[in-house]
């Protein structure tokens, strides 16, 4: 391999650092109207009266929109394929507001100051309703968050809004009660995870204009430009053919930009006024009024034999989807489907529970997407079990975990909102990952703990994890390759670069397939008019699904090139030899370079444009695997945890760009570390989010990150492009369990609620139990 599995700087990194306009707000049309949204001060209320006359009269105000201006069409902002597994339970604007920060009205004005003044001049009379702020009391609560009759599920997801239930699910492998009864050792623990924020550096940003063809053109910092186009059209009843969505460079997403947030408002404003408009979320709005991770209560019960043979896993989850049910079922299911198969030799598995509505900001997609929550519970409980068995947690895992060529019945049962797809683990180097990780962290020297000073203890802990690579039989990615004169190519992909490096990696795949160099492949992505379809950047799908489409397109382009050369040589294609630069007929000793051939095709003989489009739909979702090892120091006097080293050994198949893959893993690790130790989420008793900026919601800074070691297992996934699997999400999954296992090893106390604060550790040390 010449181009893939090699170091290549990202294709656009330099231009971005040099400050060239690249992001949505850099590409706003001059004189755009500024769109601002009036947000609910109440966690749950009905708008009795809304008077916009004073705001409309303010000079510079172009338009004020309330729920009276929109037809009642329920939709979901989730940004998924169609039909969505999320309930259609949202209106662009509604007479109900369901969380502090929910949208009440929208203003467009000539400048920000005027727009903000106009918001203050909208007079709203609310009937304040009793909010549901405790997700454990949501189900069956007399306060019904979604009483409206129009909302519905697109297919059965256990939707029961009268009981505040957005989705429900249950699946069984074997008979759980029987298996638990037979188990010699049973442990059970309850875990709580919090509503983390994505905290991408670029706030949600979108702008719109009507172009010379009288079409609506959006630039949006989105992860799903094609879904945005479809959902806009369905919800605003504006023809799909008259919408173009362009995704410029995106300043980070992590799932938070899979959904539609400002798109409806700028589109409505621009359609109604004919004028360009833009909306840039404030940081407070990003925290309060976009998405969080689904908080969960996870009850994990494991049954084992005394020799450490795991027999049964019983997992119940209560998940809080907040005010709207975006990704309610699918995040919930992934907490099982991308976690429980790790231990595939059990007799029985039960996975069940509910996803409930509350009057909190809506939860949605977030890197790890259920897997991180489920992994924290499972991998913590495995260590609890090992403690009870008196067994080394590494030996337990090596005995019970998934291995190459094995499978789990869960793959066939559980998909993303629907049934899944049976598959074997054709590539799974988990055993190597565990062994190598032990060496790199110095497990044998430190496990379980070492006293380093009078009040400091060093300890290690670990966890294993898996993810997926795209959604099989659902998500289709497509790629177009166009030959230019001079012998270079355009690669057009719907795949959505959001900073993860997909433009670079997909161009590498094309270059490798075309046997050319990276500079000969000009990549352009995510423009609904100009590029073929792709579902977008989610479900760890781009390298595997979109990458396979690119490889197919490259192979087809090469086939057509050889065919054209055979016309020149007047021979059969089989007689042509090609090295990516020169076509050769060895017997006739004829030669033509790609440059000559492409110029000839443009201008001289048999003129034509060579351009191919190929699509790919996965028939399986090969999981990447990893072992994560944390080394920590705990101060027994203050409860402070210092993460001194984190080791990741990852099987992502062949890493197509090793440095970018490492960046995906390490970025994921640090987000996982933030969730584990720092990112506390606090609401007031009235449902106001108190942690709504970077001062109160503390993501890891460069000071907390001491040392990361990341290695890749030698692995080859035959179904992936040049042996690759996904690597975008796997990194985030292990820190909560690995760090909390390390904390247990350090202080003998089990913290079952994230984030693990020094206060919780001190409390647990003092009470000698869990906290």
């Amino acid at each position: 391999m010449k181009v893939v599995n090699k170091l290549h700087p990202s294709v656009d990194g330099k231009g971005i650092m040099m400050g060239r306009p690249a992001y949505t707000d850099d590409l706003t049309e001059a004189n755009s109207l500024i769109v601002k949204v009036l947000r609910s001060p109440h966690a749950f209320a009905k708008i009795i009266k809304i008077d916009t006359s004073r705001a409309k009269a303010l000079e510079g105000v172009e338009i004020v929109l309330t729920h009276h201006d929109f037809k009642r069409i329920p939709f979901t902002r989730a940004g998924q394929g169609y039909p969505e597994p999320s309930p259609h339970d949202k209106f662009v604007l509604d007479e109900y507001v369901r969380y502090v920060g929910d949208e009440v009205a929208c203003v467009a004005a000539v400048d920000e100051k005027t727009a903000l003044r106009a918001l203050e001049m909208i007079d709203v009379t609310y009937e304040v309703l009793t909010p549901v702020l405790d997700f454990e009391k949501a189900k069956g609560n007399p306060s019904i968050i979604h009483p409206e009759p129009e909302i519905h599920e697109m297919f059965p997801i256990g939707f029961d809004p009268k009981n505040n239930v957005a989705a429900s699910y249950e699946m069984n492998v074997g008979t759980i009660q029987e298996a638990m009864d037979k188990a010699e050792v049973v442990v059970e623990e309850v875990f709580y995870t919090q509503a983390c924020a994505h905290a991408m550096m670029e706030p949600h940003t979108v702008n719109a204009r009507i172009d010379v063809m009288n079409r609506l053109v959006l630039y949006s910092a989105t992860q799903t430009p094609f879904h945005v186009r479809r959902i806009l059209s369905q919800t605003l009843e504006f023809p799909l053919s008259r919408i173009r969505v362009i995704k410029p460079r995106v300043g980070g997403g992590f799932g938070g930009k899979q959904a539609l947030h400002g798109e409806m408002f700028v589109s409505a404003v621009t359609i109604k006024t004919g004028k360009p408009s833009k909306m840039v979320f404030t940081r407070n709005e990003v925290f309060e009024s976009t998405y969080t991770r689904h908080p969960m209560r996870i009850t994990m019960k494991l049954g084992s034999m005394k020799d450490g043979t795991l027999k049964a896993i019983d997992c119940h989850i209560l998940s809080d989807t907040g005010a709207y049910g975006e990704h309610a079922l699918t995040v919930f299911m992934v907490a099982g489907s991308k976690v429980l198969p790790l231990y595939n030799k059990v007799d029985a598995v039960r996975f069940h529970g509910h996803v409930v509505y509350t009057n909190h900001v809506s939860a949605g997609a977030f890197r790890g997407y259920g897997a991180i929550q489920g992994n924290y519970a499972l991998e913590s409980t495995v260590d609890i079990l090992c403690g009870k068995l008196g067994m080394d947690p590494i030996i337990f895992r090596e005995k019970n975990m998934m291995k190459e060529n094995e499978t789990s019945p869960i793959f066939e049962i559980m998909g993303e909102g629907t049934a899944g797809t049976a598959m074997n683990m054709d590539s799974c180097k988990l055993e190597f990952c565990v062994k190598r990780g032990m060496e790199l962290i110095g497990w044998k020297e430190t496990y379980p703990r070492k006293q380093v000073s009078e009040h400091k203890v060093k300890a290690v802990g670990m966890a294993i994890a898996m993810q997926g690579s795209g959604i099989p039989y659902i998500d289709m990615g497509a790629a177009t390759i166009k030959l230019n004169d001079d012998g270079f190519y355009n690669l057009l992909v719907g795949a959505t670069e959001i900073g993860q490096g997909s433009d670079t990696v997909l161009a590498q795949i094309a270059a490798e397939g075309l046997e050319t160099t990276l500079d000969k492949v000009i990549v352009y992505s995510s423009d609904s008019d100009l590029t073929p379809f792709d579902p977008g950047a989610y479900a760890s799908s781009t390298t595997y699904v979109s990458g396979n489409a690119v490889l197919k397109a490259a192979n087809e382009m090469k086939r057509q090139l050889i065919q054209e050369a055979s016309h020149v040589f007047e021979c059969t294609p089989e007689e042509v030899e090609y090295d990516g630069e020169t076509f050769l007929h060895p017997e006739k000793n004829q030669k033509i370079t790609l440059k000559q051939l492409s110029n000839r095709l443009y201008y001289n003989h048999g003129q034509k444009q060579l351009m191919v489009t190929e699509s790919y739909v996965g028939t399986k979702s090969p999981p990447p695997f990893m072992a994560g090892f944390a080394e920590i120091e705990v101060d027994l006097e203050t409860g402070e945890v210092d993460l001194t080293h984190y080791v990741s050994v990852v099987d992502c198949g062949v890493p197509l760009n090793p440095k970018l893959a490492q960046g995906q893993v390490e970025g994921g690790i640090v987000q996982g570390v933030g969730m584990t130790l720092y990112e506390g989420v606090h609401y007031s008793t009235k449902g106001v989010l108190a942690t709504n900026d970077f001062l109160t919601y503390t993501i890891p800074t460069r000071d907390e990150i001491k040392r990361l070691t990341t290695e890749f297992a030698e692995s080859y996934e035959a179904s992936g492009p040049f042996g690759a699997k996904s690597v975008g999400e796997i990194g985030i999954d292990t820190p909560p369990a690995a760090i909390s296992n390390a904390i247990y090893n350090a202080v003998g106390a089990r913290i079952t609620k994230l984030p693990i604060t020094p206060e919780a550790i001190l409390r647990a040390i003092r009470t000698g139990g869990t906290s």
Binding site: G13, N284, Q500, V670
Partner: protein, 150 residues
């Protein structure tokens, strides 16, 4: 009101509104390399150099720029290119939204302390958040840039 200052080596006279923050002034003048990530001077993506020192422009009243020298990445393009090369080699750039501000801060650090240790780099860049990279690759790239002789 008007302010007179030097932007990237060129004298400028710009009209500003009372109370205007310099981040808005810059972006209104199409200097889009300076980004907005928060409103509380905590993310660092709006960093500019004020008389060679990194400051967050979201909290800098435009009137205070009067009489000063301002640098954005456009003003130190050849140095930014070098920094970008090191970031590229280390895979230290992901979404890139923080990268112009990162480049300015790293450049200012080099002007002040060519031999910065890891701890000094961390201390100097503490105000530059990044949610993508995990920081380690950035620090490797920054070390390499500081070590460049040119």
């Amino acid at each position: 009101m008007k302010i007179n200052f030097v932007l990237n080596g060129l004298p400028k006279t710009w009209v500003i509104a009372p109370g205007e923050m310099f981040l808005d002034t810059l972006r209104n003048h199409h200097i889009t390399s300076v980004k907005r990530g928060c409103d509380s001077t905590s993310c660092g993506v709006c960093t500019i150099l004020l008389d060679g020192k990194p400051v967050p422009s979201c909290a800098l009243l435009s009137i205070r720029v009067d009489g000063h020298v301002i640098t954005t990445v456009e003003g130190i393009a050849s140095e930014v290119e070098k920094i970008a090369n090191h970031f590229g080699e280390e895979g230290a750039d992901q979404c890139g939204f923080c990268n112009p501000s990162m480049a300015l801060t790293v450049y200012a650090l080099k002007m002040e302390n060519k031999h910065a240790t890891d701890e000094e780099i961390k201390a100097y860049l503490m105000g530059n958040l990044c949610r993508c990279t995990g920081y380690i690759a950035q620090h490797k790239a920054i070390h390499k840039y500081l070590g460049d002789e040119s």
